[in-house]
Symmetry: C3
Subunit: 314 residues, 3 copies
Amino acid sequence: MKNFLKANDIAPVNKLVAKGLQHKKDPFVSQHLGKNKTIGLLFFNSSLRTRLSSIRAAENLGAKVWVLDAGKDGWNLEFEHGTVMDGTTAEHLKEAIQVMSSYCDVMGVRAFPKLIDREEDYSEKLFKDILHYSKVPVVSLESATRHPLQSLADLITMKEVFPERQKLKVVLSWAPHPRALPQSVPNSFAEWCNAADWIDLSIAAPIGYELAEEFSTPATTTSDQVAAFENADIIYTKNWSSYSDYGARPHVAGDWIISAEKMALTNNGKFMHCLPVRRNVVVADAVIDSKNSLVIQQAENRIYSAQAVFAELL
Amino acid sequence: MKNFLKANDIAPVNKLVAKGLQHKKDPFVSQHLGKNKTIGLLFFNSSLRTRLSSIRAAENLGAKVWVLDAGKDGWNLEFEHGTVMDGTTAEHLKEAIQVMSSYCDVMGVRAFPKLIDREEDYSEKLFKDILHYSKVPVVSLESATRHPLQSLADLITMKEVFPERQKLKVVLSWAPHPRALPQSVPNSFAEWCNAADWIDLSIAAPIGYELAEEFSTPATTTSDQVAAFENADIIYTKNWSSYSDYGARPHVAGDWIISAEKMALTNNGKFMHCLPVRRNVVVADAVIDSKNSLVIQQAENRIYSAQAVFAELL
Amino acid sequence: MKNFLKANDIAPVNKLVAKGLQHKKDPFVSQHLGKNKTIGLLFFNSSLRTRLSSIRAAENLGAKVWVLDAGKDGWNLEFEHGTVMDGTTAEHLKEAIQVMSSYCDVMGVRAFPKLIDREEDYSEKLFKDILHYSKVPVVSLESATRHPLQSLADLITMKEVFPERQKLKVVLSWAPHPRALPQSVPNSFAEWCNAADWIDLSIAAPIGYELAEEFSTPATTTSDQVAAFENADIIYTKNWSSYSDYGARPHVAGDWIISAEKMALTNNGKFMHCLPVRRNVVVADAVIDSKNSLVIQQAENRIYSAQAVFAELL
């Protein structure tokens, strides 16, 4: 059974990007695929874009869709095996996933990392269990280490804006944030860019914020943000917490916000961010409100990213 | 781009009333309008009637529908411009509305007033921003100063009950309530009645509870509830807080509950209320449970009010 | 008007079981029934299986569906009659049910008992009011004393696993749980088994945990769990609180968990539970994870149980 958790999982990156752009051109042409099918969406965490774009994608494909907010709509779930469940958890993940996957034909799941135990998060323990118990294909709506539908939407957007470019100079830049955030978006973005022959990725991150090498390489990482921006076509920005000192937010010297001054160093570069974004912390108003900002186009392309993936799995 | 926020916004009041009654007669005849269309519903506040009647209206028209409870399902939104977002808000309204409106063809929004700053509420600052950022037509599901789908349903109901009447004597009466409520329902009701040539509106409210003149006039306002009721065809009841002493609940002398005794002064008058209603505080059981009570019919007509508006905008 | 609250309510038990199995064989064959129909689902309590299986059932039948979580999405409801509503409740059940039933063609409602006043719970006061005010057929999604869609799914499952058996030896066994639970599932299961000529039911429960006789008889009840298990084809397990000392959890001597050792006493018996289940409190991992466990099949059959009932009422 096919599942969608990372780059090249159900189809090569370039093929999925092309499919996404096709769905955008003609969103309703594949409604036969979803006939009498239901896509279930299970959220362990908040969601706006993922929730609504997945709903829209499912309906564009002629499928039905249900959404369950775990814990809020259903029961507190137990994740450990062999536990004596005499505490606050009322249902085991084992039953919950088997049952929910009985009620749909494809199941999307979002579960953020706890950012406490790196080994547990990076082993994707929870998703491995979900894949094991699900009776239907599973689509990651963001896991502990990756956010593949976002990355696919990002590549769709870059291809849409630069359709003919042989080699796009893309910089993934860390930016400040008041809270400790997962590495899933930057991990995934690096993974997908590294898998695309038309993207030349480099990463700018403060010392102590280097991504796990399994995701970052072969792209190079520098702590000189200004140097990295020179001649860039795309500045893709995101905050993340430390991988080496897992989940921590080590002190950062200097100024990492994405400002108009820094954007001026690029090759008339486009600004990208997965949203939600904290204005004037991550990025200055002047940048995100400029004509070079692609953030809304990225968000809209979440529909076609989900549509390309659901279409493969239905 | 057309939006629906107040009387005469997308069509003359009388035309929309007639359309609503047509949709009630034949609810499924316009399903071609909604084909491959999605209506998004964004709630910043609780809703029962508006939520369910809008869903039903969308589906009667053959459209898909999604619902998002802001803050609960998504992220805490920032409404101020130019803010450094290093606090509790994770996403700016600017992105949220642009993105959500990418996921639908018509967007309904409910946002109650805060009842603190009259100028802010009565400028409809939030809705102006929403209209500015939305890529699709916006339908007010109740704003700081108006509740137009309710008023349309109210006029549909009065026309349905008195189809031939040239001039209907309608009294909008204030009634008691334990909490400070917005003026949106009475404002809107007055606005729509004043715009309908077949309605003769007068308003009964305690001193200090006069509505803003932009909404109330040309109808007259009296603080003599008993006198106002004489010969009325319709008693439309609602509590609201003070406009002059904004959001306050100045002391009210005498008894303003809608009782059977007061209804006996009318011309066998009908009782109307938008619901939810507090029994035996706003209205006596004997009145709301009588044959002259139209509250359930009003609520049912919320479907056809929404259907008339969505149909114009799809 | 027909409603579905208990065994034999809209059709004989055996006929509904047969219908459920037909729907499972051909889930999409009755889509004409749901055309332009909406099934409303009103939850006063949490739900996973009931929510999702009812949604799926409605959609399999071609109907639309809405879900409302009372109190969370809408307003705090008042249930008492004649109250002066100047407290925390904003809307009376009387209006809420009349209005919600205006927005659908069949309405499902879930409302657990409070387990405080036995007479109130066992009179099904709330459901009687709901039936009284609803304009459309009502389906119980679990009431104070019964969970009929679960029981129907349970009988569908037993018939599916033992299609030819003339007489199935079924044991309903109490099991431990850290909280006081309603009697609705065991009441209902006993009621449905007692109404099915192909089931020979007996009940094993500790002293003080005997079910109300209106549900349990003519099945016999014993407090000797081990003796009851001998030669059983089915062990149906559930915790419940006391009926005689209403809602209490009197001390239980000995060990009532469903273990592999106890299952070995049966006739290679199947294990059933309605879920959610607390592992290693109610049942040992070795039992629920064994090939003889039917819990996932039961949960899946919730779709066809709901589909059989909705199809009768549409």
